[in-house]
Subunit: 332 residues, 2 copies
């Protein structure tokens, strides 16, 4: 294992220490509670809280700041945060206008946010859950735990964050967040396995001529092991399942997010984006906003995840609104 770490057990704490040291005007790391907060807490607005297993950075820690999240409770690597952290983050973020919990649909995350909400109900803190479940890999039926929450989480955090920042009330912020979930889908491809700091070697082995379709964000293998293909074919393999499930209206304006998984360089992501955008246009859609880079990752895994959101005028305006976090920043 070749990583910039000290003790593998301290990677999350050490990462958050570095993040705060680099951006003291943006985030504050509360070591005792193991939560990350805005450096300047917001007042009188709906608060947004998210959390999940670490190792997916910049999700969620890189999205704390003006225009996005108020507090994040990061778990251990690929492990959900515990209720105590969720409660601490919620209390710290609450500015009197209610709290939105942005929860990715993973069993542990759903359970622990639920337990935290039951405990906090005694304190009179209003927390509404927005469940993100955009992964088209998993069938959306009653027999499974349902679809996993993946890249759409970033879009929910940005767009609902902008709604909260402009002063929308709790019901409206929740409604907008759920609209983003309803209009977004994700499909992913892995080229390698990731290596967790605790284990120190790749989680699984893939042949040099294989890739893995339908992976998630916890380093687990995907649904289909298929032959490695040129970027223009990969673009179709990612975009078609998303479009066929999402079914945007002909000519629809799309926000296209292409996230690397941590180990794939930006130049490859932009190359792949070019093929995705070209294929979307061939299918009659209009990719009007693009976000390309490492956004939802699995440590050092090589690969990419395509998330598509069918925009409307309000979602576009909220997307374009100013934001100042470590990982997303514009207009301020």
């Amino acid at each position: 294992m070749k990583k910039f770490i000290n003790d593998p057990r301290d990677v999350v704490t050490d990462y958050l220490t570095g993040l705060e040291a680099a951006h003291p005007g943006v985030v504050r790391f509360d070591r005792d509670s193991r939560i990350l907060l805005r450096a300047q807490p917001a007042r009188g607005k709906v608060a947004l809280v998210a959390g999940g297993g670490s190792g997916c950075e910049p999700l969620h820690t890189g999205f704390v700041g003006r225009g996005m999240l108020d507090a994040v409770c990061p778990g251990a690597i690929f492990t959900s945060p515990v209720p105590r952290q969720i409660i601490a983050a919620t209390r710290a973020a609450d500015a009197g206008a209610g709290v939105v919990h942005i929860v990715k649909n993973f069993t542990g995350e759903v359970m622990n946010f639920g337990i935290a909400q039951e405990i906090m109900a005694f304190d009179g803190i209003r927390a509404e859950t927005v469940l993100v479940n955009d992964d088209v890999t998993v069938p959306d039926d009653d027999d499974s735990a349902g679809r996993r929450g993946l890249g759409a989480t970033v879009l929910v955090e940005k767009i609902a964050g902008a709604a909260a920042e402009r002063g929308d009330d709790l019901a409206r912020v929740v409604a907008i967040a759920r609209q983003v979930v309803a209009r977004a889908r994700t499909f992913s491809v892995g080229l390698t396995s990731c290596t967790t700091p605790e284990r120190g070697r790749p989680t699984y082995v893939m042949a040099a001529d294989e890739m893995d379709l339908g992976i998630g964000i916890s380093g687990s293998p995907g649904r289909d092991r298929v032959p490695l293909a040129p970027a223009r074919d990969v673009a179709r393999m990612l975009a078609d399942p998303v479009l066929d499930d999402l079914r945007p209206a002909p000519g629809a304006q799309l926000l296209v997010m292409l996230s690397g998984l941590g180990g794939t360089p930006e130049s490859e992501l932009y190359l792949l984006y070019g093929d995705v955008a070209s294929h979307l246009r061939d299918r009659g859609f209009d990719p009007v906003r693009a976000l390309v880079g490492n956004l939802v990752t699995s440590l050092d895994q090589q690969g990419a995840a395509l998330t598509i959101l069918a925009l409307d005028d309000e979602l576009t305006a909220l997307w374009d609104a100013p934001v100042h976090t470590q990982a997303l920043r514009w207009g301020m």
Copy 2:
């Protein structure tokens, strides 16, 4: 080789096509001349032109836009641009107030920019060269080609770009750019080799318990092969040679850039940054600005490069000035 590419011979063109597709409001790719330009050309200001081997993205292509570069001429992977491209970029960027060529000190780059300037002298285009040579690996004496241009290039492009944008004249922009070069140093460590698309396998082999101190940005090995060390030791190994060469005044305010090499995830870079910042404070310096992420890379190589700039009030103000490029954006 596992990469998102089509034909290895087309990687640069395909990447630039994707970059333009993602950010049509920021950059325009001129396919015929193989240069990247601002989407909206600036008028009446000093123009900044840079170029170098591809594979180091976002350098330089990700830094085209308001507040930074006007035009970039990207060569093939790890290969300098040819004079014809440099001339095309210079002519396209020239807005009547003179042109600055930001040239990294590599033999081919220096030679080809020189040839281009000789040819353009007949046209009456004023182009001044700013040579970047911040790599402390290489001794700064008369017997070598001198120090390589590495991460300081990003700082020159941002700070001189802000000076040009506010209307400084050619002599002043050049003077500020040279001040940045004089006050910045870089030292790098590689954990793996990169894999070029043409070759398809790692350029060299490193043992699992080794790292490579003093690498550059063209995939070549470093100066010292040493045992892999914990992040807090790596932080010292990077920072001390930089500080010992740069010799900032006690208590100096520093801009600290920690760039990944393409394959190292952001969470590791922030973790390492935390240890660097802590060591800088222990040595009596004040890291007041941080830039952490993949900025000057070597394709998919794992590793990091530390660049330190000794700030003054003017350089800080120019650093903080608004910028809108693919890779750096704030204030607009």
